[in-house]
Subunit: 243 residues, 2 copies
């Protein structure tokens, strides 16, 4: 694990790193040492590990809860190299969405790619980060919506270290089968007027989680318009389950 940049502001220490070829970022409380809860964050499609929605949440997890937060670029995103198969699927996904066509022909291929490549990569990152003395082997949470939900569902299903997850802006068509293997507490975000994920698909994915405690938060607005007050709820959810 090689740190390529270290900065600090407002009490939050930010370290960019490369783990082999995987580019990531780790946020921790400045000057912190010792074991703490760790949130793994998955960014949305077209974004990257330092998208504003990721950074804002990460800084609040660190500053208000004392957690560590790690985010990694998905293939073909941020500092990751172009990944031919990922890009092909993503491009066809957008084209089918625009044309109002079903996504079914793409799903098996995309799921296989996530399980074969992204989940193991992120698990490797989790292993490495938990070896650092200012992170340690504490409880792990996952936060990810949209693409971050598509990646998060199989990651959480495969990864017993994850104890609680905030997911959302995703549908049953892509993730329901794997979601049925998830039993940890889930807070699930739905945008009531989501132009990318049909409402029935969102509700069906919420339905699919096997978690005894799961809570759906639906708000008016489009895919990208999750209201700011949901961040407060996310903080309390993680504090309750990991703190």
């Amino acid at each position: 694990m090689r740190f390529t940049s270290e900065t600090s502001s407002d009490g939050v220490f930010e370290q960019l790193f490369l783990l082999g070829d995987i580019p990531g970022v780790l946020w921790t409380p400045r000057g912190a040492d010792g074991t703490r809860p760790l949130i793994v964050m998955g960014h949305g499609g077209g974004q990257n590990k330092k998208a504003p929605g990721i950074v804002d949440r990460a800084r609040r997890f660190v500053a208000e809860c004392g957690f560590a937060v790690v985010a990694v670029d998905a293939p073909s995103h941020g500092d990751q190299p172009e990944h031919e198969e990922f890009t092909r699927i993503a491009t066809e996904y957008e084209a089918r969405l625009d044309a109002g066509e079903g996504l079914a022909p793409l799903i098996a291929g995309f799921q296989a790619l996530v399980v074969r490549q992204i989940v193991p990569e992120w698990q490797t990152v989790l292993n490495a980060v938990q070896k650092l003395s200012h992170v340690g082997i504490g409880p792990v949470g996952y936060w990810g919506v949209s693409l971050g939900c598509v990646i998060g569902v199989p990651l959480i299903a495969a990864e017993s270290r994850v104890r609680a997850a905030v997911l959302g802006l995703g549908g049953a068509e892509v993730s329901a089968e794997t979601a049925a293997r998830i039993t940890v507490p889930v807070e699930f975000l739905v945008q009531w007027d989501d132009e990318r994920v049909p409402r029935t698909q969102s509700l069906a994915l919420f339905d699919a989680f096997a978690s005894k405690e799961k809570t759906l938060h639906a708000n008016p607005g489009k895919h990208g318009e999750v209201p700011a007050f949901e961040i407060d709820s996310t903080l309390r959810f993680f504090a309750r389950h990991l703190g």
Copy 2:
């Protein structure tokens, strides 16, 4: 307004009162004076103004937010006398629910009763309570689920003093038309396995509110099984909008 009992515990002052024939209860911070936000609470069917779910929430609104809280018995409930028409409708409602029959034949009559009698009664209580020096004319919130939602929707639609509301466990069949006149922020509770209100009816009622800010919280479980952590969310919702 005649106070019939005054008690105090853990910093919360409780006054039972009669306003004419209307029996109610007012909770305020002990020793408080001056204007503060007021929450009007509507109890569920078969409960009363001092049901545990009402008292628990009321005490937390007072102790943690410094609010005043008032609750009134619905007709045929608590210390209210038997109300023939209300009881007849409620009895038939239960019978139809048990038999899996539609509620449509009951709805117009019940809505008329709520608008004709309950809403004006509760408005009279609101007027009287806001004249007290330890309540005053501050912002008003409404909390009510199940029967408390059925009463709350027309009350809020008629009452411009209400600035924010927590509602839920209610369906569009009873309340959608009036809900479309509500524009204040709403937090709406849905029980995902509600045996009394079909899920589609709950979602349709949420859909009907004209509020720009509305947020649906759905949790697994039956009608009476709203999880305790929703109380925390309710507190923050009211603190944000009334505090």
